[in-house]
């Protein structure tokens, strides 16, 4: 299976990707789940700076297992994105490039993706070992007291992802017409 390899920041690629495209993604991402989002919003509401640059960044909705010796990261698959629906639109409007998670996201998030040319990727839920072993570097950048729910900056190599909602708002969950592997580099 010939896969499309893409790298962050996405730049022009964001506009080319279509819902249903299967890709291998490399680059820098930041983990955040429920508790970390609540803390980010407290910082925003207080007018304080965020612990990482939001512009074109990608959030990974995930909370990794602890790293065994010799590995950068433990198992680290996606968590259910729908729980972050209340957070995603505001972060996209502030410059976030997109998100990686699993499962549907709501209409407000879809509109925010269109508005900001963002992309929502679905990681394959349950493939924790595979994603964990694709993490080359992992460093906690905020809220270490949250343990697995803290924010980690990760350098990843070849994350298997499916474009779930593209920058035009097409969604794999509503279309049900996954086209799978098509070349985006031609």
């Amino acid at each position: 299976m010939e896969m499309n390899r893409i790298r962050l920041p996405l730049g022009e690629t964001a506009r080319i990707l279509r819902a249903g495209d299967c890709v291998l993604l490399s680059g820098t991402i930041y983990t955040a789940r429920d508790c970390a989002h609540r803390r980010l919003f407290e910082l925003l509401d207080a007018g304080e700076p965020l612990p990482f640059p939001l512009r074109d960044a990608f959030l990974y909705y995930a909370g990794p297992c602890p790293a065994p010796q010799g590995m950068a990261c433990g198992s680290c698959g996606p968590t259910t994105s729908a729980r972050m629906n209340s957070f995603a639109p505001r972060l996209l409007d502030l410059g976030l490039g997109g998100m990686i998670g699993k499962g549907e996201m709501n209409e407000e998030t879809r509109r925010a993706l269109i508005r900001n040319q963002g992309v929502y990727f679905a990681a394959i839920g349950g493939a924790g070992a595979l994603y964990g072993s694709a993490v080359r570097k992992c460093e906690c950048v905020a809220f270490p007291d949250l343990l697995s729910e803290a924010i980690y900056r990760m350098e990843v190599e070849g994350f298997p992802l499916v474009v779930a909602i593209d920058s035009r708002g097409n969604s794999i969950y509503s279309e049900k017409t996954s086209n799978g592997i098509r070349s985006i580099h031609s």
């Binding site: 249903g20 297992c65 924790g128 070992a129 049900k176 996954s178 799978g180 592997i181």
Partner: protein
């Protein structure tokens, strides 16, 4: 009478938890392989990724899924066994604690209101049954909450009957959509009391995927529910396709003349469970 130190139960729970966290059950691997061979596009990609993931987990001895779950432990204790040593719950928790530290498993248990993490994945959800004999059967099921969150319990009226049971099962899976990591395994409890019905659904998840209930009327509900669920075309990860569930297992118990409880416990495609008899 057989005297058994609960330390042996602790050691067994630790072994089972370490094994369960790192491998899919064999019936699950077979079901996912079958599903992959039937799907195309993004769904095939998702299922291939899951099978590759299971190999990676086994090769690197990593948790299959980062949600190493809430530890559900079912003990069937022979009534000729006399337990000594630490209290039973403490012993089970000790096994869980050691496995989650040793296996680099995620600790996912917290206070429901303060959300403060207990730090060691305890307490385990412990269920016991007293059965004939002098042995103890230990079932260990690490239950992820992406799928647990999509489970439901409905108190139907007796008039709603078999059709109501069927539509409750199918509607639960439909409402869950892509969120519980389909293709799912569906455990169903029919009858009993409110609490007993939920436990029946959990116990159904211990059955082999594809097995059928001994009672034909119950087996026919399993078959029809599976067909109706797969006609929803949610597919692997919600990407569409013909395999939304890899199995439906129903357990049944007598209930009250005024009621028909139905519990639907959703299990994600990451079916991990281990059993030992000591």
């Amino acid at each position: 009478m057989r005297i058994l130190d609960t330390k042996e139960i602790a050691n067994c729970v630790c072994r089972l938890a370490l094994r369960a966290g790192r491998r899919l059950s064999e019936d699950c691997v077979n079901a996912l392989t079958f599903a992959r061979n039937r799907e195309r596009g993004a769904s095939e990609f998702a299922l291939s990724t899951l099978l590759e993931n299971a190999e990676t987990a086994s090769r690197l001895q990593l948790p299959v899924c980062q949600d190493t779950g809430m530890s559900v432990v079912l003990l069937r204790i022979g009534q000729e066994v006399l337990l000594c040593g630490a209290p039973l719950q403490d012993a089970v928790d000790d096994g869980v604690r050691r496995a989650y530290a040793e296996g680099y498993f995620r600790k996912s248990i917290c206070d429901p209101l303060t959300r403060a993490n207990t730090g060691d994945n305890t307490p385990a959800a412990l269920h016991t049954e007293i059965v004939p004999g002098d042995q103890i059967q230990i079932d260990y099921l690490p239950k992820g909450f992406g799928s647990e969150n999509m489970s439901r319990l409905v108190m139907l009226t007796p008039a709603e009957g078999r059709a109501g049971v069927l539509s409750t099962i199918v509607e639960t899976v439909r409402l869950a959509g892509s969120r519980p990591c389909p293709p799912v395994f569906v455990g169903v409890g029919i009858g009993g009391s409110f609490d007993g019905c939920a436990l029946l659904a959990k116990k159904a998840l211990l059955r082999e995927i594809g097995s059928r209930h001994a009672r034909e009327d119950v087996a026919s509900i399993e078959r029809e529910a599976l067909e109706a669920i797969n006609n929803l075309h949610i597919g692997a990860q919600g990407f569409g396709g013909t395999v939304t569930a890899i199995g439906v297992a129903c357990e049944i118990a007598p209930t009250h003349i005024a009621g028909l409880p139905v519990a639907v416990n959703i299990q994600c495609h990451c079916v991990r469970r281990e059993r030992e008899v000591i």
